[in-house]
Symmetry: C2
Subunit: 273 residues, 2 copies
């Protein structure tokens, strides 16, 4: 949606939003695949736990990624905006072969990192091929247009969702998480009703969208991804509907995609497993 942005950018790294509560013991296939994309036994994963208010979150993911065979896994606990000036942390980030944002509150991520050299560096890393992922709040922050918070329920209401600028790795997708568990179809539709140019990805828990450099979404995990495609939308009533009233949206296309399915943004085609 920007004049100077190319439609596909094959040198970009993978973008990996996870719906939250991904399996961490037993068969943690989402995190395992993230390690593989990051270089397997040569991977140097940097964890950004800023969304979380718990001190142990960073350490937990350090241990997880190391158990999964990463060469190194280091968390950089940015708390305040002034922390983003730390040169040693910027150097560690610059050397990452994969970057992962933990869960928590996505507004803590955007308010702490937005407009700083950390946000710029993560975008640069992804642009040159480094995979960037995140779970829950860490998934929400990845695109240009982030769902900050919103209401619950299956049908969209005017004013039901609040958007904020995210990290800006892609503006082709709007991401929602804990999707089935927290009944969020309504708020995702509401977010898309404002300006039907993006594709909605509703991620169930323990389910990830592995978005390739050429914008093909691969579904990995025990739940499903609800893809909401409004490219054929013929009407959205958002300009006329009063706050709290149901929206009118016609010709929305939806795909429910479990593990092994794909969605190709370029052709708008979904492929079952």
């Amino acid at each position: 949606m920007s004049p100077s942005r190319s439609q596909t950018d094959e040198t970009r790294g993978w973008i990996v939003p996870v719906g939250g509560a991904e399996e961490k013991v037993g068969h943690p296939r989402i995190l395992q695949r993230f390690v593989r994309l990051s270089g397997e036994e040569e991977s140097r994963i940097v964890i950004i736990p800023t969304a979380s208010s718990l001190d142990e979150t960073g350490k937990q993911y350090e241990d997880l990624f190391q158990e999964l065979g990463a060469q190194s896994a280091v968390s950089l606990p940015y708390r305040e905006r002034v922390d983003t000036d730390r040169d040693d942390w910027l150097e560690a980030l610059n050397d990452a072969s994969g970057v992962f944002f933990t869960g928590g509150n996505q507004l803590r991520l955007s308010a702490t990192l937005g407009g700083t050299s950390v946000a710029t560096l993560v975008r640069r890393l992804n642009a040159k091929g480094i995979p960037v992922g995140g779970t829950s709040a860490g998934a929400a922050i990845l695109p240009e247009h982030m769902i900050a918070y919103g209401g619950t329920g299956g049908t969209p209401l005017a004013g039901m969702v609040s958007l904020a600028p995210g990290l800006g790795l892609t503006n082709r997708f709007v991401i929602d998480q804990h999707f089935r568990e927290r009944d969020r179809l309504g708020r995702l539709l509401s977010a898309l009703s404002y300006n039907p140019f993006a594709v909605g990805l509703g991620l169930d828990e323990d389910t990830a969208a592995f978005i390739s450099p050429d914008n093909v979404v691969r579904v990995v995990g025990s739940g499903a991804i609800t893809v909401v495609d409004v490219s054929q939308l013929s009407h959205s009533s958002i300009a006329e509907t009063r706050e709290g009233e149901p929206l009118c949206m016609t010709d929305v296309r939806v795909h429910i995609l479990p593990h092994g399915s794909r969605f190709d943004l370029n052709t708008r085609c979904a492929t079952p497993p």
Copy 2:
């Protein structure tokens, strides 16, 4: 804020948001300057009156631009999303040397044009050098992050403003209009608190920001532009503050700039007339 987007793009056209209620008789210097940028007596201006619910708005601006010496001024009254498929209108748009969005409701613009070939074409035109402007709602739609609606007052409250994706001509600015007249500093600050990467431009009525291809803002008109620069922000409490409660924001820099002033986005320096 996007990996594949260049920081400055000197081939881009001017972006001209107007704060609404610009002078139309007597000395209409904002519209006159827009005609000059569009090619003076060779200008072919296309007006998009979609934001307005009044049938006569398009015709009014046709007359205005013609009186000001444009070679042609044609309005394309897109009402429903299906209208965006009209080939004759797309051809007229493609031939424009300047594009202008009228006022009304910015959600009517985003919901009707978002994701369509009209939005794509306007971005392409601007990317190759064609000036794109708009007044009131037509100003709000221009950037990537648009203020959809919000509350009134000088201090920011959590949840006071609703953002939506706009046309995406620039993501470096967040624009608000009728700024002094409707007391909107609070909602502009609130919009910037989410992710302090953009610069806020609060446009008084009859006042325009002429944003050059190299991102220098020139102020034209009888009011002022309030530039809100959060690049040095040391704290934003948006992640912790409850809806309706006052936000904490520290180290916000503000410039109040009347006619003849400039603000350079690259150096973050303001220059008085």
